[in-house]
């Protein structure tokens, strides 16, 4: 397994996780170790089945790692050697799922209200709905919203839970180019407003990843095979650019 750090930097998100992955074509081992300084947004790229969604689910506590550590600042979310595992609801890892998971029986306002934690320091519901441009559609149900509006509601709902770590699983994949651009702008606003401590987003689009994240990590069959900042030239970034596709061609 990847070497664990001895001295954590203050406030950083650190995780080292290991879990077998099962594909139709065989088995692989997800073995990822990464550090995110506070405020950093990281984009995950890689072909289908590389373990991107599994990694997000492990961080959220929706799946169990065979072995691993997750530390968010001074909070230990998982330490398999000590047998400690914080349940999902206590992790403050907000996730915008690819399928969104909006509650069909709740209006937009109710979804955001429901997501608020008692001790929440998140923006008020009205302000969150305004941030995502849904203030006039607050009483509508998910079935009455368009695809883009649903995406924005899912983001507002997640932000209402005041997450430390924001996980975005292909948040823009189902949108047309125009809605995609407006969601990108919205995510940039969220990033600029420092509403979350760290964010990890899965995106197949390299330009989008470069716009939204300060760093891109490429996964291939469960392993990190590229890790590069997006704000300056880096040999890994050119490697990621060369291999940025959804095929399973090896890049490492």
């Amino acid at each position: 397994m990847t070497v664990l750090p001895t001295e954590p930097a203050p406030g950083e998100l650190f995780f080292a996780l290991r879990k077998p992955l099962n594909f139709a074509s065989g088995e692989a081992l997800l073995d990822v170790s990464l550090r995110l300084p506070p405020g950093q947004w990281l984009a995950l790229q890689g072909p289908s089945g590389a373990g991107k969604t599994t990694l997000l689910r492990l961080l959220a506590g929706l799946e169990t790692a065979a072995e691993g550590v997750i530390r968010a600042g001074d909070e230990i979310w998982l330490d398999s050697r000590r047998g400690s595992c914080l349940p999902t609801r206590l992790r403050r890892a907000g996730m915008v799922f690819q399928e969104l998971g909006l509650f069909p029986h709740m209006s937009a306002r109710r979804q955001v209200d429901f997501a608020r934690r008692p001790e929440s320091k998140a923006l008020p519901t009205a302000q969150l709905l305004e941030l995502v441009g849904l203030e006039k559609l607050a009483e509508r149900y998910p079935a009455e919203l368009s695809g883009g509006q649903k995406q924005r509601l899912a983001l507002a709902r997640t932000l209402a839970s005041a997450p430390r770590l924001l996980l975005l699983d292909e948040p823009l994949s189902a949108l047309d180019p125009q809605l995609r651009r407006s969601m990108q702008t919205l995510l940039q606003e969220v990033r600029a407003s420092a509403l979350v401590d760290y964010a990890i987003l899965v995106s197949h689009d390299l330009d989008e990843a470069c716009q939204l994240a300060a760093r891109i990590v490429r996964l291939q069959r469960g392993q990190v095979c590229g890790d590069a900042p997006t704000d300056r030239p880096h040999p890994h970034l050119s490697l990621i650019k060369e291999t940025s596709c959804t095929s399973s061609a090896a890049c490492c």
Partner: protein, 235 residues
């Protein structure tokens, strides 16, 4: 022979009839309450795969749907009767005689209607996307909050539909009710048994009046069922 409406109104005129109708209503109400609680608990448990005893519980819940009511009643009588293993224990420890009393009628109504609540509730829980509870978990909700605020409102229509069907089934239950209630005049005769008794004693007028009443109630339930199917989600 009086008109059906006059016979129907006559039903409410005598204390004995009112007692029979009140007993039927009490069994129906208590049975519906039990069905709601156990339907939710059993439907939720059966919708979760991979635990020991699930298949056995599934068979036990479904059995009254396919087993003849008279035979089910007889088995329950053997089990809960004064000399039955469970009946004797209940009598000895708690002083409760579950058969030939209100409790016998309630057990019959409960067993007859149970699969009609559990099965749709189970199917509704099974059809809910897994992502709903997962999303709620990431929003910091505990399992009880998820059940009450996320799952329950989304299976509400299935629960309501199941309860209406079970109520209709328990109102029309005769075989098990006769076995476990004993068909004792003034104590354990419900509306359906009253129709049976009236027919066997040749009192067709009375049988028609009670049948009309049950028919009206059943039609009301059918109307509710159709309305429920079109109802929006949530509370």
């Amino acid at each position: 022979m009086d008109s059906p409406l006059a016979s129907l109104l006559d039903l409410f005129a005598t204390p004995g009839n009112r007692q029979m109708l009140w007993l039927t209503a009490r069994v129906a109400l208590a049975g519906t309450l039990l069905h709601a609680l156990s339907g939710l608990a059993l439907g939720y448990a059966l919708a979760r795969p991979g635990w020991r005893g699930r298949n056995l519980l599934d068979i036990a819940v479904t059995l009254p749907l396919v087993f003849p009511p008279m035979a089910t009643g007889f088995l329950l009588l053997l089990l809960l009767g004064r000399r039955g293993p469970l009946g004797e224990a209940l009598q000895e420890w708690f002083g409760i005689a579950p058969v030939f009393a209100f409790s016998g009628l309630l057990i019959a109504a409960f067993v007859a209607g149970l699969p009609l609540v559990v099965k749709p509730v189970q199917a509704a829980f099974e059809s809910l996307p897994k992502i709903l509870p997962e999303a709620a978990r990431t929003l910091g909700k505990n399992e009880w909050q998820i059940f009450c605020y996320v799952l329950l409102p989304n299976i509400r229509n299935a629960l309501a539909g199941g309860l209406i069907l079970a109520l209709g089934r328990s109102l029309g239950e005769v075989g098990m009710t006769m076995m476990l209630g004993g068909n004792i005049e003034g104590r354990t005769v419900t509306a359906s048994l009253d129709i049976y008794n009236a027919v066997t004693s040749g009192d067709f007028e009375r049988a028609a009046a009670v049948s009309l009443l049950l028919g009206l109630v059943s039609s009301g339930l059918f109307f509710l069922l159709r309305r429920n199917a079109r109802a929006p989600l949530g509370w």
